[in-house]
Symmetry: C2
Subunit: 242 residues, 2 copies
């Protein structure tokens, strides 16, 4: 996305405006959650039109550098949470380690059974009992994901009675003696649609990331299948291979 | 996304239409690149309105199960390419191993120098000579990504004279004796904007995935920094941890 810096002479005007705004964000002149001046004022400041200014803002939104808050204008995005799928940590520990404040809310808990799709994903038989837990998670007070967690009800009897507004990993370890060992993670970009979009508080069609994680215990028994819907600008995935 | 199967009684109508269409795709009744019937005909078939039908189609597009081809209607998406970032393979080998046909086109090759952004990413000094290579890659004749590759010109003298419509890894190995060893990968969802969107042939704002990969040789020397812009429905990233 920074390639334009090499061909400055031919940069479209909106990319020059983009570069100047991005520079102010990268240098910390504009700090996270700061509101940007109005489009009219930005257009005056950069001596350009509102159409060009809007293109620059759309580019910065696509890159996740700014976000729109309903009718209140444009704001500087907080840094992306770094997630290393090859590491083992809970959401809460990972967020806290990056100097930020996690929060988890349980939306609902339902006793149900595995359908054919879930059976394929988990190795359960169709009809096996499952507890479906829906949660929303925030970073520094901003909703960044909603998740559907399917728990193995046979392996975790009575789990529906616990408080889920906390780390599920700790609950599994402390109450059931389960250590999550093997996991298969799959991720792809998606557009957020309802009910996920409205639960996060964005309009349907907003770019997002779909992440599933199937976790087992040390004996290879299925424990939980987690389906996460992330805001597109909230997360950065990093993998190092040596 | 399949959670609705558990609460069938309360499913919004558009999700029922979505489930029926998705079922036909998953069972192979509708095969990749098949054109769907028109919205009018689908609405009649499912006994619903065109508004509801359109919501169902938007949901399927968000999931990457169908795609729109300019003014020709809706088509069934080909399967996502599976990419395992912890494995070592070239794009071409990975695509071929999945029974599909890769194609690589060079868009342009430019001699330039590292700017501050690239210096931070690579460990080069600002001003160090770099070859910037822009390529477009296809799977089964469909453009799925464009990439900007920054090559260490000091380490790879004359590299700009080679044919890049092939595997870069093989070129590095065969002509320069370089084996790529360590790599740092970073990925996040984005919206595709120009010039990338038009190079792939989608409208600006289409959901995408931004992937960077910084590769070194066995001695830890910087070789190449690759910046990829993927169509959102073309790729699935998988990581297994045991």
């Amino acid at each position: 996305m920074q390639q334009q810096a090499f061909v400055e002479g031919t940069l479209p005007l909106y990319l020059k405006v983009r570069d100047q705004l991005a520079g102010q964000i990268d240098k910390g002149v504009l700090t996270p959650n700061t509101r940007l001046p109005s489009e009219r004022i930005l257009a005056e400041e950069y001596g350009t039109t509102r159409v060009t200014t809007r293109l620059a803002l759309a580019q910065l939104e696509a890159e996740g550098k700014i976000y729109r808050s309903n009718r209140r204008g444009w704001f500087v995005s907080p840094p992306r949470l770094i997630y290393k799928p090859t590491h083992d940590y809970s959401f809460s520990d990972n967020v806290t380690a990056q100097g930020r404040v996690p929060e988890t809310e349980t939306l609902d808990v339902t006793a149900t059974e595995a359908n054919p799709w879930l059976a394929t994903k988990t190795g359960l038989a169709v009809g096996d009992p499952v507890i479906l837990l829906r949660r929303r998670r925030q970073i520094d007070g901003r909703p960044v994901l909603v998740e559907n967690i399917y728990l193995n009800a046979t392996r975790l009897p009575g789990i529906e009675t616990y408080d889920f507004n906390r780390s599920l990993w700790k609950l599994l370890r402390e109450q059931y003696g389960v250590e999550l060992k093997g996991k298969r993670i799959e991720m792809y970009p998606t557009a957020l649609v309802d009910p996920q979009a409205s639960a996060i508080g964005v309009t349907a069609g907003t770019a997002g990331l779909y992440v599933t994680r199937c976790s087992q215990d040390g004996q290879g028994g299925f424990i939980e299948f987690d389906e996460e819907f992330w805001l597109h600008d909230a997360l950065s995935i990093q993998v190092e291979v040596s």
